[in-house]
């Protein structure tokens, strides 16, 4: 194994691996946001200072969210392998990996979203209450709207965490750049493949960070000047 893999073969390996990683991260982020945002809103509304306090239920769901969030991802991967098999017919490959990724992403994003909503000025919320606005309207026009840039950056943080998780899944046959680094690089003693995968993961993470920073600024109207 002293022969160095030619660059052309490294690229052959890297191209589908990058696409797979992006696919896993985007789909699981999407599921994480779709599931985590309502959960985060619910956590905020039912908190003691929220609009519909439900102390007992809040504490229970809150604990579940935090427990799932603190399970190490490697453990979660193994634990939900059978669930993946049930849902997508396989426990290996990138589509199967989306199952544990999404399960990790939902409580992760829910907690970040709840924190973002907590930062919305309670005076503004009360002002909306006094106008006779109902709860759905307050959630939409006050909470989500005011917290929009914090929520977008929470999506960014979630995506970055999922890039890490997706790479970790590569160790047990999850596909993507993680698999490339570990199976084709590390286990094959091929440093060129290994470090190419590592650099690509880094670039991917950095790019997603730049993208979310840009969107965060774009949606934040607070500092924008009047269009007079």
């Amino acid at each position: 194994m002293t022969e160095v893999t030619p660059w052309s073969e490294v690229f052959e390996l890297a191209r589908p691996a990058t696409v797979e990683t992006i696919y896993m991260v985007l789909v699981s982020t999407l599921i994480g946001v779709l599931g985590g945002l309502p959960l985060g809103v619910w956590l905020h509304l039912t908190s003691p200072a929220g609009l519909s306090p439900m102390p007992v239920l809040h504490r229970i769901i809150s604990a579940v969210v935090d427990v799932v969030r603190s399970v190490p991802f490697v453990v979660l991967l193994v634990v939900v392998a059978s669930l993946s098999r049930l849902l997508v017919g396989s426990a290996i490959g990138s589509t199967a990996t989306i199952v544990p990724l999404a399960i990790a992403a939902i409580p992760f994003f829910a907690r970040l979203a709840a924190n973002a909503l907590r930062e919305v000025d309670s005076t503004a919320v009360e002002a909306a209450v006094t106008t006779g606005a109902g709860k759905p309207r307050i959630v939409w026009t006050v909470l989500l709207s005011e917290a929009r840039s914090a929520l977008v950056s929470a999506v960014g943080v979630t995506m970055l965490a999922l890039i890490g998780y997706a790479a970790m899944a590569g160790a047990i046959g999850g596909g993507g750049l993680g698999s490339m680094a570990i199976q084709n690089g590390y286990y094959a003693y091929d440093d060129r493949v290994l470090y190419t995968a590592v650099v690509l993961l880094g670039v991917l993470a950095w790019g997603m960070q730049l993208l979310t920073d840009w969107v965060t600024k774009l949606v934040d109207r607070r500092r924008s000047l009047a269009n007079v």
């Binding site: 009360e126 909306a128 109902g134």
Partner: protein, 339 residues
């Protein structure tokens, strides 16, 4: 017209029961401005939150045109909220919406069609003098401008009552004036009944017709500002009117004068002419020992300590009382010299 009837509210704080409001009753007639004043901890915020319908009182009623709003729940409560426009304490604007967007908020809740909404928002921004700031975001407005946007928002759904909770607490005196002008205009141009909860006596001095003083959760004074100022021992009177020099009284209790007295004069005619006329008519020598002139709303009000010398001093005083001057004799001195 808004009436608050026997409102009581207490909280449990650190395992002790704190009574924030104890049997508070208020009545604010249509189209008047009523100031609710008191020191911090007197229950002002709790009262404001109860009237905003954000807090449910333990007992008592809050009636707007007869209906008890404090007893409502759910969708009827939400509908009732449109009858009371609220300017909450502190910064309450949505920072992700323009000034116009903020004013439109109550209209969106009330499902007013977009075209109508736009014209109503334009009207309101005009009323508060911020037409040129319609598309500006709150972070680029000054504190006073933000507060005026909050007033416009509170007025959007055409409430019959406007409640402002400490609307001037974070503002400097010149900005305070612009906010008070807007509140006064809401009353005069829209006929809204305005309730201002404040610790700032400038609010009472500038725009209040009526005033209520809260102390430890109870109303200790309530009435028309101009009536209260002339009542002896009134807290409002002693805060709003100029001080008459108390030391002077002790030094010369009657001294060179046959009679000394405190007079409160309300209105242009009284302030301008009553004292010199009394002096002329009864041939008494009248000197002003202390006090001064102030203005409550548009009405000049004076409080003087006067000394009268001359045979007909008593008659002069009596004549002033007949002409609605509020006269209080100086108390008898320690030496027992008869007044």
């Amino acid at each position: 017209m808004i009436t608050v009837e026997n409102l009581s509210k207490s909280f449990t704080q650190n395992n002790t029961r704190v009574t924030a409001l104890d049997d508070v009753s208020l009545e604010v007639p249509d189209g008047t401005v009523c100031g609710v004043v008191g020191t911090s901890g007197a229950g002002k915020s709790t009262l404001a939150r109860c009237i905003s319908l954000l807090e449910k009182p333990d007992s008592g009623a809050i009636r707007v045109d007869g209906t008890d709003l404090a007893a409502l729940d759910g969708s009827r409560l939400r509908a009732a909220r449109r009858q009371i426009g609220v300017v909450p304490q502190g910064d309450s604007l949505l920072r992700q919406r323009t000034a116009a967007g903020n004013v439109a908020l109550p209209l969106e809740s009330a499902k007013v069609p977009a075209a109508q909404r736009r014209s109503r928002v334009a009207e309101l921004l005009d009323l508060v003098g911020l037409s040129d700031k319609a598309s500006v975001y709150p972070d680029h407005l000054s504190g006073g401008q933000r507060q005026r946007v909050a007033v416009a928002r509170a007025l959007a759904a055409k409430p019959s009552v406007l409640l402002a909770d400490e609307p001037t607490s974070a503002l400097d005196p010149s900005t305070t004036d612009s906010v008070l002008t807007v509140l006064d205009r809401a009353r005069s141009e829209l006929g809204v009944t305005v309730l201002v909860v404040t610790h700032d006596m400038a609010v009472v001095r500038r725009i209040a017709d009526d005033v209520a003083v809260l102390e430890e959760g109870s109303v200790v004074e309530h009435g028309k500002v101009l009536d209260l100022v002339s009542e002896p021992g009134s807290r409002i009177g002693s805060t709003l009117l100029p001080e008459t020099d108390q030391a002077e009284l002790v030094r010369s209790p009657g001294g060179e004068h046959d009679v000394t007295a405190e007079v409160v004069l309300v209105g242009f005619a009284a302030v301008g002419a009553l004292l010199p006329e009394a002096s002329n008519r009864f041939g008494v020598e009248l000197s002003i020992l202390g006090g001064g002139l102030t203005r409550l709303g548009d009405t000049p009000v004076a409080k003087f300590r006067i000394g009268l010398s001359g045979e007909r001093s008593e008659s002069a005083l009596k004549w002033m009382i007949e002409r609605d001057a509020h006269v209080r004799r100086a108390p008898v001195s320690v030496d027992g010299v008869a007044a």
